[in-house]
């Protein structure tokens, strides 16, 4: 069955309107918002199954293999936040679904102007989502910081686009670039790297991830990161002659190392995982560089897709654990394993997966990505990526040690909240991906053939 090419976006748009409508009711049915968000995102996922391949809907929108793959990724990354929408905040739900809609549009963007529109479409609701996710000043401050960082990224992109257009008179792929066009390409890439939190454009990211509610950080680090990676990949496609592409592996290597090193001394869990997500973004940038360097091969796409898919489980799972346990710092982890054995065991699995230990999906993800880099003769970036994984083990193992091997500092009563099932489900997902990696590749392989 062939779907209308924008059917997933239609499902998400219906969700946004539905959430706002529920807000009009004096007494909305309990959990209606959660059900609506889950239905809307789940529906977008189902509708993506039947999308036609390689169709231009209009000059600015298309569906290709990546559109479909990223439609899944974005929805997969967003599902956990939909699960947590158990309040009655209709605006929060609408903002969340609006951001997902923006990401989903980005997956379909066919030229540079549409990329910009989609970028702003997904970013604006996200700023407000951060501000509204948690009461208090710190989330407001983080949202303003996020807004300014995003504004800079948008402005860089606009300027780059102007220069690029001045050179090529085109908003899509074009051949040989003058220095003007090269500068434009570099500025647009800087915008994408800003969004990904590449070093040294990462300064906003830890503050935002730390001040948001954990489930929102999980959403930003998975769905938003997936969209940003695709944003970078589309740039590589639309400006294939741009010189910045050759720099991506080095930028990725530095980002991966910097993120891991800076996470080493973090005490607050959300901040630690923010730096960990910067490190993972570095690996992804290496992967994008390898994909571009090897003639944009289908294997390169499927390696990135697998990484992001595994990361959607790992990162959402860890932030869900933070939300569930209510723990804020590493020292609070001490000796808590026994108090919540199932969730803590699942969290441990997620930590091992993030560290890239087999037999988890996290190992497969890192292996496939670094393998692409080695295959594209990018040996040094691959070695840097492997080194960053090694450094990151120090804090993943450190947290395992605190959780299970050490004794609690204050033996006060400790009551975790609800949502352990989500942590366990994420861990199960990542174990499944490790034990049966062909699951993902058979899903994505059919698309990328």
């Amino acid at each position: 069955m062939t779907m209308f090419p924008l059917a997933p976006q239609a499902a998400l748009a219906a969700g946004v309107l539905g959430a706002l409508f529920l807000g009009l009711l004096r007494r909305p049915p309990p959990l209606a918002l959660r059900a609506l968000a889950l239905a809307s995102i789940g529906g977008a996922m189902l509708l993506a199954v039947g999308l036609p391949a390689d169709v231009y809907v209009s000059p600015i929108l298309l569906t290709d293999a990546k559109t479909v793959g990223w439609q899944y990724l974005i929805c997969l990354g967003a599902l956990p936040l939909a699960y947590w929408l158990d309040g009655e905040d209709d605006v929060l739900s609408a903002l969340f679904l609006g951001a997902v809609l923006g990401m989903s549009l980005l997956a379909s963007a066919a030229n540079l102007a549409m990329l910009f529109i989609a970028l702003e479409f997904m970013s604006l609701p996200a700023y407000l989502l951060v501000a509204r996710s948690r009461p208090g000043d710190s989330s407001l401050e983080a949202a303003i910081k996020y807004f300014f960082a995003g504004g800079v990224a948008g402005a860089l992109f606009m300027l780059g686009l102007a220069l690029y257009y001045a050179d090529t008179r085109s908003l899509a792929a074009s051949s040989a670039l003058s220095p003007l066009g090269q500068a434009g390409g570099a500025l647009m890439a800087a915008a994408a790297l800003f969004k990904l939190g590449a070093f040294p454009l990462n300064w906003w990211l830890p503050d935002v991830y730390e001040a948001s509610a954990p489930e929102v950080s999980g959403f930003l680090s998975t769905a938003m990161k997936s969209a940003a990676v695709l944003f970078l990949m589309r740039l590589c496609e639309l400006a294939p002659e741009a010189a910045f592409i050759a720099w991506l592996p080095a930028i990725g290597a530095i980002t991966a190392l910097a993120g891991s090193v800076m996470a080493l001394r973090q005490e607050r869990l959300q901040r630690l995982f923010a730096y960990s997500s910067i490190s993972n973004a570095g690996l992804l940038i290496i992967g994008v560089g390898a994909w571009a360097a090897s003639g944009r091969s289908a294997e390169g796409v499927s390696a990135i897709l697998f990484f992001l898919g595994a990361y959607a489980f790992m990162s959402n799972g860890t932030f869900a654990f933070i939300k569930y346990s209510g723990l804020e710092t590493r020292s609070q982890l001490k000796g808590r394993g026994a108090a919540m054995p199932a969730a803590a065991a699942a969290f441990t699995i997620l930590l091992f997966a993030l560290g890239g230990i087999p037999p988890t999906g996290g190992f497969m993800a890192k292996l496939l990505l670094l393998w692409r880099a080695v295959d594209a003769a990018l040996l040094w970036p691959a070695a840097a990526g492997a080194l960053s994984a090694l450094i990151s083990l120090a804090y993943y193992l450190g947290m395992t040690r605190e959780l299970w091997f050490e004794k609690a500092d204050e033996p006060a009563a400790f009551k975790p909240g609800t949502g352990a099932a989500l942590v366990v489900a994420c861990a199960a997902g990542v174990v499944l991906l490790g034990a049966a990696p062909w699951l993902m590749s058979s899903i994505s392989g059919g698309l990328l053939r």
Partner: protein, 481 residues
């Protein structure tokens, strides 16, 4: 049983899962599954002995994407080391029987046995790596949860060090697989099909990457610093598995992967690697001499003993290879016995310093007998197992690089110089002030049964090594230069 080798590694893993849900009765499940695993390994040994034509058992699975295929195979080298794993695992369960530990303890040991069996069976390098890394997880928890005072530090250090080596190994494997694909157009991780000559100038880089991964595990000086901490802080049974089997993974990796893939490079690297191995025997012995902690002394002695194995294996002569491989088994038995006895002492007194004991021979004659027996086996007394392995390994090295053999022989002498005084101090010297010897009761029946088994094997290999050597020889024949 169409998948005998899969069953071999899956049985202990199933046991680990069962134990996790058995609560207080987990030890019985652990015993059953350890016995099952040992029985399966024993059956494989018997099949091979009874039917010399059946020198290799193969099992092929489907090919996955990217040339990864589930490919297991067992020759006498694999089977011998799996039998050692299964035997020591059973010994560990028996020796920990009366410990007050939760179900996870037994699960970890069975999971470790399963991953180790996988390492020795895998012939697809992807699966080899996965099993290789998977061994770290249970051992990390064994040290961290049930180790002694400094366990937190030791567990993380152990994991990070060995993982650091593995990272280089993984990069080397990826380079190899990619180069093979570029040269032939075929994706494969199959050890038998891969051709390292495709690497060209990247060959040495890949070789040293592999060697680094294996050398950390052996451990070869100067990559050994994780070992004394890990072995000392682990619970007794954990030390047995660490020293008895996990150190062997490094030498096994050299034998199985590095030497066959890079026959020439590995031979031209002999002066460096052999030199480090010879240095390990001397340096390990000197460090052991300086220790005041009984367990730490045995840990350092392991570094020295693995140096002998390495010297023999690297010489690539028939007697060196077979002797070095037999020495892997010997070291597993003798050092395993020594670690167990230090564990028994520690259970009774919570001490393990050399100066904490004295005059134990009169209080615990059985303990003294077994400790003395194992010490003599460990320092290479003719008639016991250590002599056979060390003698053959050194004579192999002598025919290739005599200077290394002389250095190794010095290591043998030094072994007597640390092991005998330690034995004397603990068992014969009069108890000093602060001695806890009066708390030591002699071994009970269960402990004696465990040690009788180990000692009988030491004596058997020492008196009649021929069947043991003949068992390993076919698998190593191809490596002789």
């Amino acid at each position: 049983m169409s998948h005998p080798l899969t069953i071999l590694w899956a049985a202990p893993l199933a046991g680990a899962a069962v134990c996790a849900f058995m609560g207080a009765r987990a030890r019985y499940a652990a015993l059953v599954f350890s016995a099952l695993f040992a029985g399966l390994a024993g059956a494989l040994v018997m099949t091979m002995l009874a039917n010399p034509a059946l020198s290799v058992v193969n099992e092929l699975g489907p090919v996955w994407a990217y040339g990864i295929s589930y490919r297991l195979s067992a020759d006498s080298l694999s089977v011998g080391l799996i039998a050692l794993t299964a035997f020591l695992n059973l010994i560990c369960v028996a020796s920990s029987w009366e410990l007050d530990v939760p179900a996870g303890y037994w699960s970890c040991f069975l999971a470790l046995a399963s991953a180790l069996a996988g390492v020795f069976l895998a012939r697809d390098l992807f699966f080899f790596y996965v099993f290789w890394e998977a061994t770290l997880i249970p051992m990390f928890f064994i040290i961290g949860l049930w180790g002694s005072s400094n366990r937190l530090h030791a567990a993380v250090k152990f994991f990070l060090f060995t993982f650091a080596g593995s990272v280089f190994m993984l990069l080397a494997l990826l380079t190899l697989v990619s180069a093979h694909h570029r040269a032939t157009g075929v994706w494969t991780w199959d050890l038998a099909a891969l051709d390292a000559s495709a690497l060209g100038t990247a060959g040495p880089l890949a070789f040293w990457g592999l060697v680094l991964g294996f050398a950390v595990k052996i451990p070869m000086i100067p990559l050994h610093t994780w070992l004394p901490d890990a072995h000392t802080e682990a619970p007794a049974a954990g030390s047995v598995m660490l020293a008895g089997v996990m150190l062997k993974m490094g030498v096994y990796g050299l034998l199985r992967v590095a030497l066959p893939l890079f026959p020439d490079l590995s031979f031209s690297a002999l002066p460096i690697l052999g030199g480090l191995a010879a240095f390990s025997t001397i340096y390990g012995a000197l460090c052991a001499m300086a220790q005041t902690d009984l367990k730490r002394m045995i840990a350092y002695s392991s570094i020295a003993h693995l140096g002998f194995c390495l010297l023999g294996v690297l010489s690539r002569t028939s007697q060196g290879l077979v002797g070095g491989t037999l020495q892997l088994v010997n070291h597993g038995l003798t050092t395993g016995a020594l670690f167990l006895m230090v564990g028994f002492l520690y259970e009774r007194t919570h001490k393990r310093g050399l100066s904490d004991f004295g005059d134990l021979a009169s209080r615990a004659p059985f303990l003294a007998f077994f400790f003395g027996f194992s010490t003599l086996a460990s320092i290479g007394l003719p008639g016991l197992n250590g002599f056979v392995g060390e003698f053959m390994a050194l004579s192999g090295a002598l025919s290739v690089l005599p200077i290394l053999a002389f250095a190794g022989a010095l290591g043998v002498t030094l072994a007597a110089a640390y092991a005998l005084p330690a034995f004397q101090a603990v068992f014969w010297a009069p108890a000093g002030p602060g001695s806890v010897s009066e708390k030591v009761s002699d071994l009970d029946l269960r402990e004696r049964a465990v040690l009788w088994t180990l000692s009988a094997l030491m004596l058997w290999i020492g008196l009649a090594p021929k069947p043991w050597l003949a068992f390993f020889e076919p698998a190593l024949r191809g490596l002789v230069r």
